[in-house]
Amino acid sequence: MHAIADGLFTDETPPRLIGGRDRATGRIVFPCPDSADYEAVLLSSDGTLWSYTVQRFRPKTPPYAGPEAFAPWVVAYVELPGQVIVEARLVDVALEDVRIGMPVRFKPVPLDPGAADSAVIPAYAPAGDTA
């Protein structure tokens, strides 16, 4: 298992997402830009769902590098309080149960669950009893 790109999240357990803090303004963005103007900052693992949609068709390849087989997935915008809102997948939830405001936790998943050597991508899953 390997991250789809370097510098996206840590390899500790559990992993944490890595943002970038603008040294001049304090503004946090994701991913961390490859620039001396930004310093890497660890992002909170817990957040709430800010908005979402469901991707209902297989995106064009390139650039999409996922498996040929397609199942709809949730595209989430997750608010990490006081830091930044990040775009990632939301997993382990029925499509009809997704609600804005629900608590979620960082949980990277394989891009291709059927492949042993799949790249791992940023994702969130419902947190706590609301799952």
Binding site: L8, G19, F30, P31, S51, R56, K60, V84, E87
Partner: protein
């Protein structure tokens, strides 16, 4: 300062025209606009041309005539057409020229736009995970807006239903068959909450506008359609845009995020010296049904959340208090990027001249508004007066 006037309009029907290039569709629109203005190509002193995917607009001089005319190509995302018009207006306002052309055309392959991360200064992984998809952003933006302001999915359906009904009355529209709201709501989903009828498709088409100084317009004897304002603006801080891996957190997040459209709109109203309540007909960017809803508020025509009632009461129908997208907008016409913003201005000129036929706004409208929005957070607005 005297006004810049629109003295000639031309359009090549939107949709799919197999076997005809985008440039050729632009040429057809230009010839129509020249005939409408009652002038020949040699009288055109300058041109601005916009195309995103169908080649360099200035190549059309091969077909129109090698007069040595100044011809500048414009590429500015979804605001390309608006930017061409803005530039043409400035050329006349500066006093340098008396009469010129703004032309836009495009011809996109079938299916959704296929953007690559490198074109938007984004890392490759963003596309590899399947997030380089414009529809995701538009859906997520309306999903939060519906949550904040109580807009129902049925209201999104009403917007699409109106678009196809209006499009059926517009000769230049692509989708010319009305679709029932039931069919719209129950159609296959593309990106929740949007079904396939709630998104426009990339397409083809061409639009040409001849602009002239007021003095020149009077000489030509054309009805004076005055371009009272043309603005193009970029995004403010904390906005939520297409292809955004992250969005700023803000202290008070109970309203919609600020947008380029709000800035372009406010500046256009300031320049024209009128307000949203003075507008008789509006063309608002409706690349998806929810965009029209949100743009009604972003352009100052109603408060956030009022759209639910406006649509239920039919206030944006052709015979309503503020007709919106009288030719069916992008939903019925499709979106050839380079031409789309100019189509809105074409439609407004048709309405102000009273030439709308089955889709004519009643009551002899005197003011018309157009608005486009696009990646990565650009907007262009025009206000016309007769």
């Amino acid at each position: 300062m005297s006004d810049v006037c629109i003295v000639g309009i031309g359009i090549h029907p939107f949709g799919r025209t197999d076997g005809m290039s985008g440039v050729e569709q632009g040429v057809i629109a230009v010839r129509q606009a020249l005939a409408d203005a009652g002038i020949g190509w040699p009288q055109v002193q300058f041109a601005y041309g916009s195309s995103d995917a169908a080649g360099n607009p200035d190549t059309m001089i091969d077909r129109l005539g090698l007069t040595g005319v100044q011809f500048i190509n414009v590429r500015n995302g979804c605001a390309a057409g608006g930017s061409a018009l803005f530039s043409a207006q400035m050329a006349i306002k500066s006093g340098e020229f008396d009469i010129g052309l703004a032309v836009g055309f495009d011809k996109h392959p079938r299916g959704a736009f296929n953007a690559l991360p490198s074109e938007y200064n984004l890392p490759d992984w963003y596309g590899e995970v399947g997030q380089m998809v414009t529809t995701q952003f538009f859906a997520a933006k309306i999903m939060r807006y519906m949550h904040l302001f109580g807009i129902s999915r049925e209201t999104l359906g009403r917007v699409a239903e109106k678009a196809f009904r209006n499009g059926s009355r517009a000769p230049h529209a692509w989708r010319r068959q009305p679709v029932s709201i039931e069919e719209i709501l129950e159609a296959p989903m593309i990106s929740d909450p949007y079904s396939k009828y709630m998104f426009c498709s990339p397409g083809e088409g061409g639009v040409a506008l001849i602009l002239a100084s007021e003095k020149k317009a009077r000489e030509l004897g054309k009805p004076l359609i005055r371009l009272k304002a043309a603005t193009m603006r970029t995004r403010p801080p904390h906005s939520f845009e297409v292809f955004a891996p992250s969005v700023d957190v803000v202290e008070d997040d109970s309203g919609p995020r600020p947008t380029a459209s709000q800035i372009a709109s406010a500046d256009a109203f300031r320049l024209a010296g009128i307000g949203p309540g003075d507008i008789a007909v509006a063309q608002l960017q409706d690349t998806e049904a929810g965009a029209e809803i949100m743009h009604m508020a972003e352009n100052g025509f109603c408060a956030n959340g009022d759209q639910e009632q406006w649509l239920a009461e039919g206030r944006t129908e052709i015979d309503g208090a503020l007709p919106v997208n009288t030719d069916g907008g992008c939903l019925a016409c499709g979106e050839p990027i380079g031409a789309s913003g100019l189509r809105q201005v074409y439609e407004n000129a048709v309405q102000l001249r009273g030439d709308g036929g089955d889709r004519q706004v009643p009551g002899n409208p005197k003011t018309a508004y157009s608005h486009v929005y696009g990646a990565p957070g650009v907007s262009a607005v025009t206000i016309l007066e007769r």
